[in-house]
Symmetry: C2
Subunit: 366 residues, 2 copies
């Protein structure tokens, strides 16, 4: 049971708790990114890892979409491989490619590179950034989201050594050497847990767990080789009895056949991609009752003209039907080619399109 | 209703018709490919497009997996972009990349490049190959499968200009300029239909329609922008009343939320990828009753050791439960790194693992 004083909560946080809100809250994965000219300007002079290492700069780019778009939540600018970089792994964020790992992880011996994360030293910049952003957002109806990469998705990068579509080596490790796989997943779960807890301690009001690539798995492999670790991660992020729960958002792409297993592993909010009609996902997962639902506009719609975009946004809103516990978002991240006007219009449209509370009784205020 | 004299049919063809078989038939997408040393040998001297253009050579590589693996069906060696090359489009099969289109298709004007396919001239080599393979297979319990790329998957290559994961430009065309999209899809449907009919005329005993990348779409976009064209394609491949139907296999990857719509568009056999548990797909689609089911081992399992592979194969067989209308296959193509021993063992295992007919009554043959 989520316990929290309603009065102090932002609209976003109320939606995470499946409480009624005055408008549907909206934020967009990768809202701070190349679609914003002010972000591109910063990126001319700094790599992403440089931005992450400088709290003032990182707070600035985290807040850019709040200022320009009026979204209901900021998400800390970082990368899911950041905690691995912080514990000393050699990972390069290669332009146009993604994370490239100098020494892909393949053996028990390689696991030594995965030392535990020490929040005091390894998260200093991130925690400072979170505190700065919270100060900037004080008194505003905008929440701050932290995030971590889920163990499977992190393992996928570490084992393959670079972004992959099929995760052949990763899945083979899972099938052939389940002991090694479990040891790897256990370490990554520990790192993700410490990292998420450190973000909550520094002011994150929700944590999104990105299991972006877990859709490569069959339900059977997910249940055997991933779900137990995810269960431990979400359990570790459960508030003690009587304490307010920091909402945990559980997200992946291509997860149509995994959703129930993912929700079973944990999450107060489940993120859907565009392949699952939102009302169907809602019914399958017990939206409004058991979990809140986040999603699920196709990011490609955001690159189209307003007419086409509005039609797709209307479809999402229609399926959500203004029920409590809907957070409008994309099914995956904002594409770099997205026109910034579309982002601005979409946020305003979602805010306006959803029911506002009944007007004050006649006579009042006259 | 599928009408055909049972006695003349191969095991594979009987399974396509949901008739009981003595063993579960098995073939593997990309069974003729880099996993076979004899294929790699041929590819040292010839590109794929060269092989396709030479009936004798093409028949040889088509038959390689029949000889080595003992599969129940051969599939003609080709590429889904072959008919587009044959009508004069400049497409290069770039090593390690895939099809690269010289002039990506983006406007109504660009559609001119898509002239109709003329079977007599544009399919001469392919038809000759099919006839040669059929002659080689005469009297054997091995069927010959032809195939075509589905219009969406072909459009994806033509519009993006190269293999894509997100199909951003393709989907944007679909959303923003539905007229252009429909005109493109109509032309590709016509080409695919002519190409499939030409293969049936030359001896193909089944046609697999590869809509490999359609899983990028939401059910809504599929229903509006793809399904009507697929319906026309499958209708065009329906046998006239009273004539035996050449089985049509409808396959895509990542299609968990599209399966019912795909089956509605058409197909006597529906191919599942590994993300959908075979028994669940069976129930959703009416396996044994309305359609046969093909699939759905994860290709990565075929790269693992025999113990792990057998466990995954057992899971597929258990879910199929020897019901009529199961064709064992992968959820996608054989990976080039697959050990050839695994292919050999899997085929033998599936043949042995499935029920054989009751032994002759005691006394007979003594």
């Amino acid at each position: 049971m989520i316990v929290a004083p309603t009065s102090e909560l932002t609209t976003f946080e109320r939606a995470c708790r499946r409480q009624p809100t005055e408008h549907t809250p909206i934020w967009l994965m990768r809202q701070a990114g190349r679609a914003l000219p002010e972000f591109r300007e910063v990126r001319k002079h700094h790599s992403l890892l440089e931005i992450i290492a400088q709290p003032e700069l990182c707070a600035e780019v985290t807040l850019q979409p709040v200022r320009r778009l009026g979204v209901d939540a900021a998400i800390i600018v970082s990368d899911i491989i950041a905690p691995l970089v912080n514990i000393g792994m050699e990972i390069d964020l290669k332009e146009g490619v993604g994370p490239v790992v100098a020494h892909p992880l393949r053996t028990h011996d390689d696991l030594k590179a995965l030392r535990p994360l020490e929040p005091e030293t390894d998260m200093r910049a991130m925690q400072e950034t979170l505190r700065m952003v919270r100060r900037e957002l004080a008194g505003k109806d905008v929440a701050l989201i932290g995030f971590v990469g889920a163990p499977f998705t992190l393992a996928g990068y570490l084992v393959e050594g670079r972004p992959s579509r099929d995760f052949i080596t990763t899945k083979r490790m899972m099938l052939e050497t389940p002991d090694l796989w479990d040891a790897l997943m256990a370490r990554l779960t520990e790192i993700a847990l410490t990292y998420a807890q450190g973000q909550i301690a520094a002011g994150a009001q929700a944590i999104q767990v990105f299991d972006s690539w877990v859709g490569a798995l069959s339900p059977r492999d997910y249940a055997r080789h991933v779900q137990p670790h995810m269960g431990r991660l979400f359990d570790g992020l459960s508030a003690p009895d009587g304490k307010p729960q920091t909402p945990r958002i559980h997200f992946g792409v291509g997860t149509a056949t995994l959703l129930e297993l993912m929700a079973e592993a944990g999450g107060d909010v489940i993120g859907l991609d565009w392949r699952v009609p939102l009302d169907e996902g809602w019914a399958r997962l017990g939206g409004s009752e058991r979990v809140a639902i986040q999603g699920n506009l196709d990011p490609v719609a955001l690159t189209a003209n307003w007419e086409a975009l509005r039609e797709e946004a209307d479809d999402v809103l229609r399926r959500a039907a203004s029920r409590p516990g809907h957070i409008f978002n994309l099914g995956h991240g904002v594409l770099p080619t997205t026109p910034v006007e579309n982002l601005e219009r979409l946020v305003a449209y979602v805010h306006e399109a959803t029911p506002t509370p009944a007007p004050p009784p006649l006579g009042e205020g006259l």
